[in-house]
Amino acid sequence: MRKLTLAIAVIAPMLGHAASAQDTLKIGYIDPLSGGGASVGEGGLKTFQYLAEELNAKGGILGKKVEIVPLDNKTNPQESLVQAQKAIDAGVHYITQGNGSSVAAALSDFVTKNNTRNPGKEVLYFNYAAVDPSLTNDKCSFWHFRWDASSDIKMEALTNYVKDTPAVKKVYLINQDYSFGQSVRSDARKMLGAKRPDIQIVGDELHPLLKVTDFSPYIAKIKASGADSVITGNWGQDIALLLKAAADAGLKVNWYTYYAGGAGGPTAIKQTGLDHQVFQITEGFANSGNKAAMDYEKAFRAKVGLSLWYPRAVNEMRMFKAAAEKANSIDPVKVAAALEGLKFEVLDGGEGTMRKDDHQFFQPIYISSFGKLTESEPYDEENTGWGWHLVSKVDTPQTIVPTTCKMARP
């Protein structure tokens, strides 16, 4: 039987997919499900599948069952386009993706072209994690919506926090050498310079993306610089190895990170023993203190066996439902129009808004630190016994950044 399905599944792409049944609403999930990025992609997939089930339990979206179609892009832009095309050919009108700004840029461009060339068969692209600011600035598209805070928003929030933290005096920047790392670096320089001109930037490093196996030489440089804080956008093994090398060398600084909470990050921090010295900037986290969010976390963990990395995915799916209901249609053009300017109470509390100008979602941002937990903080990460602890909440108004987007509307 199984062989048969396998055979059918292999033959299927040749025959093409028959038009989908009318009672399901398919969302193409395009992220790495094999290869290096697969652990992250699988976590995201489980999250979206959980959310779809949750929506379906409450009657779906406008009575339609939501189905997540997993599509493996191997973190490769080209492959993503193949998968997106595959999804569109199979009758998918909504795709969501998060890992890799290069993939996001390719997808946004692809969707925009597709929609102009195939009027009546539009596709919306929901971005839940790609944070390159250009996606809502010079490369912005009417068909792209972003729920994650872009890297400049996060930096705006972080620098607003640093503004009131006099202990930060000497900052070292270390980032991955590609567009995201470069935008973190330039935003940090610009915003720190404006808000805290007294802060000294004692180092500014770009290292090759995911290629460094030993960060000791970099740690030696940080140490030599006399920095008290490090700001880094590193993710994946680049953050884990960086922290590991820091702990090995006995470097005592505070780490302000974007992605220390990603898969493997908490394990690495616990291993290094950097108790409450590693900070992250997110739109929500397990111990945020918001009752609803914490209950949600509990249910999610019980069912999925992972912590909720993507509170924004919850916002995304719920807002999708809200917009569809507001438009009373699942036609992508109408949903897109309904999403513009939509205000929404986010999972971790507080109001967020989908800015019409550039389709960037603005929401409260949290700065939390990783370490030993108190009584009121029930959730640890990756079974380390340590978890995220609230340091500061930056409200929506303090996260607004300008945009250069000149959107072409249909």
Binding site: G35, G36, A38, S39, E42, D177, E205, L206, H207, P208, L210, K211, V212, T213, D214, S216, P217, Y218, I219, A220, K221, K223, A224, Q237, A240, L241, D248, A249, G250, L251, A263, G264, T267, A268, Q271
Partner: protein, 315 residues
């Protein structure tokens, strides 16, 4: 500055010894069998994962011995049931077999252990700073790695110089065609050599696992560098592999430590020229190009001296 030099040298030597541990096995296998084993880095990865698993079950020290043996056994099986049958189709076929094997091993490992980095820790016994240079701690485990690498290096040399198998291997290094005609059980020698080479890679994996990341893409990220090392050093030359390991590791470590770029040396370009290839090259720092330096060295040496640094044969 001195601080940076000392630390970078230490780090470079350490990384170099690790590279040598891997490349020695690869070199011996190549000189005996003429096979460039693409799966060598995969054996290194297997070593790390076996090391992780065995550490969990029976502790680090037994794992340090057992895991390489296991990897060696797998290597022997690969030689016996794979390469030996492929031999008649020529070296390209053998190379391609190991190429396919590398693919398969990576996937099998990620199937069993998942794709995220494992929590493979430094054993408690060695989890302390060994000494402090310029207020930077140098962890004891790294010293341990260094010692193991050096011990293996010395042992390898002794085995090669003093034992019969060693003599055969030595002969193979210089006169690869003769050995086959000398009436030794070439098949068994090949199998043992392949096994030992794999075991060395496995050992490197066990000790490098806790210090670096133990993850299913660790083979892919290290593999190409290994080929650079043995080609750079001269295919089939052990001393060459040793020198090349150190050179490449030191060059890479120091490249990272340096901040210089053409812009910092000669002043920034006229801003009115705008972005171009020239400005890209002008502004890139040495640290940024560190990962491509080994390949640059490889291409240059192959152009200038195709037999490699200390090699005697071309292919």
């Amino acid at each position: 500055m001195l601080e940076l030099i000392v630390i970078s040298t230490l780090n470079g030597v350490l990384f170099g010894m690790l590279l040598f541990l891997l490349s020695s096995g690869l070199t011996v296998i190549f000189s005996m069998m003429g096979v460039l084993n693409f799966a060598h880095a995969s054996f290194y990865m297997l070593g790390a994962f076996f090391g992780f698993q065995l550490t969990k079950w029976i502790g680090f020290w037994p794992a340090l011995v057992l895991a390489p043996l296991l990897v060696g056994a797998i290597g022997m099986a690969v030689e016996r049931y794979g390469l030996r049958n492929t031999h008649k189709h020529g070296h390209v076929a053998e190379l391609l077999l190991t190429f396919g094997l590398a693919f398969a091993i990576e996937e099998i490992v990620s199937m069993i252990w998942g794709k995220s980095p494992l929590d493979y820790r430094v054993p408690a016994l060695l989890d302390f700073p060994a000494f402090t240079v310029f207020s930077t701690n140098y962890p004891a485990y790294k010293i341990f790695m260094l010692v193991v690498s050096v011990v293996i290096f010395v042992a390898l040399l002794l085995v090669l110089k003093r034992t019969r198998v060693g003599l055969i291997v030595q002969a193979a290094l210089t006169h690869p065609h003769m050995v086959g005609h000398l009436g030794h059980n070439v098949g068994r020698v090949f199998m043992v050599v392949f096994g030992v080479g794999s075991a060395l890679a496995g050992l490197a994996g066990v000790i490098a696992g806790p210090a670096l990341v133990t993850q299913s893409d660790m083979a892919a990220s290290l593999g190409p560098i290994l080929f650079v090392v043995i080609v750079f050093g001269g295919l089939g030359s052990l001393p060459g592999a040793f020198v090349a390991s150190l050179v490449i590791a030191l060059v890479q470590t120091f490249a990272v430590a340096l901040n210089g770029s053409l812009a910092s040396a000669f002043g920034p370009l006229d801003p009115s020229t705008g972005p171009s290839v020239l400005s890209d090259i002008w502004n890139v720092t040495i640290a940024q190009v560190a990962p491509i330096v080994p390949y640059l060295l490889l291409v240059i040496i192959l152009i200038v001296r195709p037999m490699g640094l200390m090699g005697t044969r071309e292919s």
